[in-house]
Subunit: 419 residues, 2 copies
């Protein structure tokens, strides 16, 4: 008998029919003898409707009241799922985040989980019940309702698994697991059977959307084994856990890409000490997240500084760049929104020199120009022209021996680039 | 400076526009120097939508999970109202029932409030905030979410007023206060300036829909002054409080009517000791509420037993009557759904003999036949034919000197009887 935490997202519980399907899946697992805890998100459309209501009464709603409002979405889901299980003649009990002792810091809208008290869940499991927990929400020590922000339900699931000492945290998605590349771009992408936390973190941070970065960090910090799998079938997915001797020691786990960032360049900045510090202090003050940075070789005491930033921060980035140009008496600034970042991720990279060289020559042979480069010990990222993403990712996938023998996916149109 | 609790129902917060109107009303009161607490219901349509969702996943949802589901309705309202107040530049904070220490018994779906801990509300008031509390909900001592059932938000408001030692609990409705009769039936009905708890209890119990019986009981038990008034204007409404020398000592406070009950008759029951006990034990076992009872004079050792019961209990009442007829070897049973109960209520009745006689002769003169009679120390009720309700109520209203000089309301069509 195992103790299992399963997480279902907003699409999986988006209609009464789908809620009933999740109920049957949970019941089957319970009937097989396992202790089952489900963590669920708000029904797909509900959060948007609540946000619309909020904007109808207030342009800038206080974060505390947004949390009060949005947390009702998951509460509806857990009640309905518990009812659907009862309708099938099985016993279930639902809990809100605050009820089940998910304690967070008081940062409304993006609270961090500090503790999960597992005792209430364990009691209900001991009574033979299927336990349903609201994702995305918690409470401060003085009882304020908080929400965890993007990817919060994944983090709740991992935290509940940690708090109840569960054997595995199964995160159900609309894909079969973690792939060596996005199958919409690389038809010969392979599903990974397993991946260690560090590589998964780099994959998540560099564009693999299947698991949220925060939930993987939480899993690593608390030793929770994640099983990332499809809600449409019973196939095994991808296990995310501590590296060990049984795990395949791939040099490269995958090739990721990210087209959500833009490149900002500030031209002909005076090349003197402290200029870079000045630029990025201004960006931080303007709440602009900065990812990669390059500074060109100086000519005539002038240099160019470029950085990438999420497109969602671009309005603020442009305003800050305008101000920086004036303050530093630089020549001008420009923005390129048609860039893409591609990354090679792999724990084996540490002990295999030459990966970077091979990556650069592969891209050169494919006719892809490299604009910016950054590296970590297990990742190499390059910024390239946006319309070369497909070409570049496929070339790297083949070059590093990641192609599967079978084509596992049709290339889907409409992923924003020529394929 | 006074401390005021205001209660707004589902219609008053039914749309973003109406929520903004309630926000402005609260702000005006706060600006006038009073401490203001608002208790609100779910937005008009929300509870129905949640009930529909529940029935889509489960035919007989567990009461605990229904409470988990339905309590989200008020949580949405309080968050939106707090936001609307912030949008006007004022400070507000919302609390769920559990957060604010509304402790109930564990009877899900119709929990009773056992205690309201006022300290959290008082703290927020001391910080100058307008406090918004979710009506209709509470939590057990072990943190289960409960709902209070019908009229729950009124009771929450009165309980919050008791728990915070408020000067008055203002209950906003769609009428101007408590009237001597339903103005839709009696155009010359008068609004009462004040009424004592006992008379208000009898009025509420016998058909005056404006205040819920439970909330009046709670107010009487805790000495909370209720001000029942209109949400459409600023006119004074009706004050409900302990009888005192300043209050008008009317012999009759009002004439109420109730068409929500049906009459069940069991015919030719053997007239022996214990028969009535048997009948009403069976009804109680079938969860049938019984209001008035008469037993006819026995003829040939056989008698008829009639009682009134809410039409909502009628399916169960018929099944129970069928069984009773078989068990007692009675002749048959019948149901009359076209009956009405009219009541005269007034504290002065205790000390004024002859009220009953005058009531009966007034009805006789109006050609209204009396079917059943019951009395308390300050109320006389008669069951009559349903299509005579308007005639009977108007005759009594005139006969007991309750008519106002002005016609305060148009007789509205469609109140289910000839007028």
């Amino acid at each position: 008998m195992a103790r299992i935490v399963q997480k279902y997202g907003g699409t999986s519980v988006g209609t009464p029919d789908r809620i009933r399907a999740v109920a049957r899946r949970l019941i089957a697992r319970r009937a097989a003898g396992d202790d089952v805890v489900a963590v669920v998100s708000a029904m797909g459309h509900v959060t948007d409707e609540l946000v619309d209501l909020a904007s109808a009464v207030c342009k800038t709603p206080p974060d505390r009241e947004m949390d009060m409002l949005l947390s009702t979405g998951e509460q509806v889901s857990i009640a309905l799922l518990a009812m659907a299980i009862h309708a099938e003649g099985h016993d279930a009990i639902s809990f809100t985040g605050p009820q089940v002792g998910i304690v967070t810091d008081p940062v409304h809208g993006k609270a961090k989980i500090q503790e999960v008290r597992g005792d209430r869940i364990l009691e209900a499991l001991a009574e033979g019940k299927i336990v349903i927990v609201a994702g995305f929400q918690g409470a401060t020590t003085d009882g304020q309702i908080t929400t965890l922000g993007r990817g919060g339900s994944d983090t709740t699931a991992v935290a509940v698994a940690a708090g109840t000492d569960a054997d595995v945290c199964e995160i159900y998605t609309d894909v079969d697991g973690v792939f060596t590349a996005d199958p919409r771009i690389v038809p010969r992408a392979r599903k990974l059977d397993s991946i260690d936390y560090e590589a998964m973190l780099e994959m998540a941070a560099s564009g693999a959307g299947v698991l949220q970065l925060r939930s993987v960090e939480f899993a690593r910090n608390h030793g929770v084994v994640i099983h990332c799998r499809s809600s449409f079938n019973d196939n095994p997915g991808t296990i995310v856990k501590e590296a060990d001797s049984t795990m395949e020691q791939a040099i490269i786990s995958g090739v990721t890409h990210d087209t959500s960032e833009a490149k900002v360049t500030i031209r002909d900045v005076p090349d003197r000490p402290g200029v870079a510090a000045f630029v990025f202090t201004r960006m931080a003050e303007s709440n602009v997240n900065v990812d990669m940075i390059i500074q060109n070789v100086s000519e005539d005491g002038r240099t160019d500084i470029s950085f990438t930033s999420p497109k969602t921060d671009l309005v603020r980035a442009k305003q800050a760049a305008e101000a920086v140009v004036a303050e530093l008496e630089a020549r001008t600034w420009s923005v390129d929104e048609s860039v893409a970042k591609i990354s090679l991720v792999g724990a084996g990279m540490k002990t295999h020199p030459g990966v970077a060289a091979k990556m650069f020559s592969t891209l050169a042979e494919a006719g892809v120009n490299i604009d910016m480069i950054s590296t970590s010990s297990i990742r190499i990222s390059c910024v390239i022209e946006g319309d070369k993403v497909g070409t570049a990712v496929r070339a790297l996938h083949t070059s590093f021996g990641l192609d599967s023998e079978a084509v596992v996916a049709e290339v889907s149109p409409g992923c924003g680039e020529e394929v």
